[in-house]
């Protein structure tokens, strides 16, 4: 069987166990991590059938808000990106754009077996099979579909991970951008680019490693077109006037 590189970090990683000697800053970090674990804004990207299990998890029967989890509507505000089901190639582009816009610490949760291994869409030509090839996934909730209890117990596991400071896989996207970009390019073609400058951001947040750049990012630079601001204009566009 082919060995897949596992992108999820473990506690043995030296970057995780970063504790300074100052007791006050340790207490402060702990407080921040506790607050982060008890307040999770969730952006649900409801792609497949798993979406149907979320309303019961959020409303009166299971009530996620008592755990501090509430839905949010834009990627900028959200902490969790919830992918609930199969991701087609076209959808995956939007998922990656959404993911890159979120503010870290950000967590990705894949719900349903389709995000784990393609599920019943294994033979489909149009779906991405493993979500963690394209972005670091913190947690998978397997099942077809997982019941609300399973969703909530998965979210509680994520909360525990955040509390002990192990939910750091968002850093992996900066640290090993080349790997993720390579997988994205394999699916979307060589000209794939996103509006977010991940390499620049990784340098800015000092998460730049030798694996951030590589052959795939060189390919990206080759094809990258600079982003231009959209022209803002009032009134009718020229196209309409021609008619």
């Amino acid at each position: 069987m082919k060995e897949f590189p596992v992108p999820v970090q473990t506690a043995e990683d030296p970057s995780v166990k970063k504790q300074s000697g100052n007791i006050f800053s340790n207490v402060f970090d702990e407080l921040v991590r506790f607050a982060q674990s008890r307040s999770l804004f969730m952006l649900h990207y409801c792609t497949g059938c798993g979406a149907i299990e979320l309303p019961p998890a959020m409303t009166s029967r299971f009530d996620m808000e008592r755990l501090g989890i509430q839905p949010m509507v834009t990627p900028r505000q959200a902490d969790i990106l919830l992918i609930t089901g199969y991701v087609s190639v076209k959808t995956l582009k939007r998922v990656i754009l959404t993911y890159e816009q979120m503010n870290a610490p950000k967590y990705v949760i894949g719900i349903c077996s389709c995000t784990v291994n393609g599920g019943m869409y294994w033979q489909s030509y149009a779906t991405a099979k493993k979500l963690n090839d394209y972005m670091p996934v913190d947690l998978y909730i397997a099942g077809c579909m997982p019941r609300p209890e399973a969703v909530i117990s998965g979210l509680r596991q994520l909360m525990e991970k955040i509390k002990i400071g192990e939910a750091n896989s968002w850093q992996d996207y900066f640290k090993r951008y080349d790997y993720y970009l390579g997988n994205q390019q394999r699916l979307f073609g060589e000209t794939w680019q996103t509006p977010t400058d991940i390499i620049g951001e990784s340098k800015h947040y000092s998460l730049h490693t030798p694996e951030t750049e590589g052959e795939h990012t060189r390919l990206l630079e080759l094809h990258q077109r600079p982003l231009e601001p959209l022209e803002m204009r009032l009134g009718l566009s020229e196209k309409t006037e021609d008619r």
Binding site: F34, G68, V73, T74, R76, N103
Partner: protein, 302 residues
């Protein structure tokens, strides 16, 4: 009453701080009441605090430019300034120097700051949201100004400290709500609009324009807006209590009254859908204005 500079500085620090803590409790109450109306348990006690800490501890942050930053500072700072103009039991701050009209001006700064900040985000949803927010402000400010005029007329002063004193000396019969019930009713409409709660929630509208002004706000920016929301709930409800319910004899009564006042818009909010923007303006310029004008006429025949 004359107080020293040091005492004044302590008051100016304490007033926004207390307002923030009470405001967080108000946010908690809002979310709990919403949860109970939907037969849910609701968030834990410290949830507003967790949210604010979490949002301010984000590790990556995207700023759209200087005005984006300044806009948020204006939004929070406007309310912090408003708190110092709002007398509470034991602390008057600079309320005697300011008065009602200054407070009215200062309470508009947050909306304008938000408009500036959102403008630089260049997000179409944000622009629609902020245009709606300013339209809504135009809508609820007309009855609000009429109410202010009535209050100034009936008490003969725009000084909030004196307004409170007059009401407390006269007992319940001297309360604004008893003296001018129509005005109090119009004020409730303005309060609902000011808080942007559901029938008048045109500019947040999560399902339609993706929370409008908040659409590009993440991390510390959203944290700033959460802090602003605490101040907003506090300012609006305490101002209503000051004008119509005799202010606070002590902190217990002030908080009881403020929370009771806030319960009205919150309970309405979770039971109703929202109006369209033009319907909001039409409603605001028709019924509360009518009520306010009737109230103004009745004041003359007291």
């Amino acid at each position: 009453m004359h107080i020293g500079l040091g005492e004044l500085l302590i008051e100016l620090t304490l007033m926004p701080l207390v307002a923030f803590i009470v405001g967080m409790l108000m946010v908690l109450m809002m979310r709990r009441v919403g949860a109970r109306l939907q037969r849910r348990v609701g968030p834990p006690f410290f949830q507003p605090l967790y949210d604010i800490i979490k949002l301010h501890s984000k590790e990556t942050q995207i700023s759209h430019g200087l005005i984006h930053d300044i806009g948020i500072i204006m939004a929070v700072g406007g309310y912090i300034a408003a708190e110092t103009l709002l007398p509470v039991p034991g602390m008057n701050g600079i309320a005697e120097k300011g008065g009602l009209i200054t407070l009215l001006y200062v309470m508009m700064i947050p909306s304008l700051g938000l408009a500036l900040g959102v403008g630089q985000c260049a997000n179409p949803n944000g622009s629609i949201g902020i245009s709606r927010a300013l339209t809504a402000m135009l809508a609820y400010d007309i009855p609000f100004v009429i109410v202010m005029a009535g209050v100034a007329f009936i008490y003969g002063t725009t000084n909030l400290v004196e307004v409170i004193n007059i009401q407390q000396e006269g007992g319940i019969a001297a309360w604004g709500a008893v003296q001018m019930p129509f005005m109090a009713l119009a004020g409730l409409f303005a309060l609902q609009g000011m808080l942007g709660k559901q029938p008048f929630e045109v500019y947040v509208a999560p399902a339609e324009i993706a929370t409008g002004p908040m659409v590009e706000m993440g991390g510390k920016y959203l944290g700033g807006l959460f802090v602003m929301q605490c101040f907003q709930l506090y300012t609006a409800s305490v101002l209503y209590v000051t004008l119509f319910l005799g202010g606070g004899e002590n902190w217990l009564f002030l908080l009881l009254k403020a929370f009771a006042v806030l319960l009205i818009p919150i309970s309405i909010a979770f039971l109703f859908p929202r109006f369209k923007t033009d319907d909001l303006v039409r409603l605001m310029w028709k019924w509360p204005v009518l009520l306010g004008l009737i109230g103004l006429v009745l004041i003359n025949y007291r």
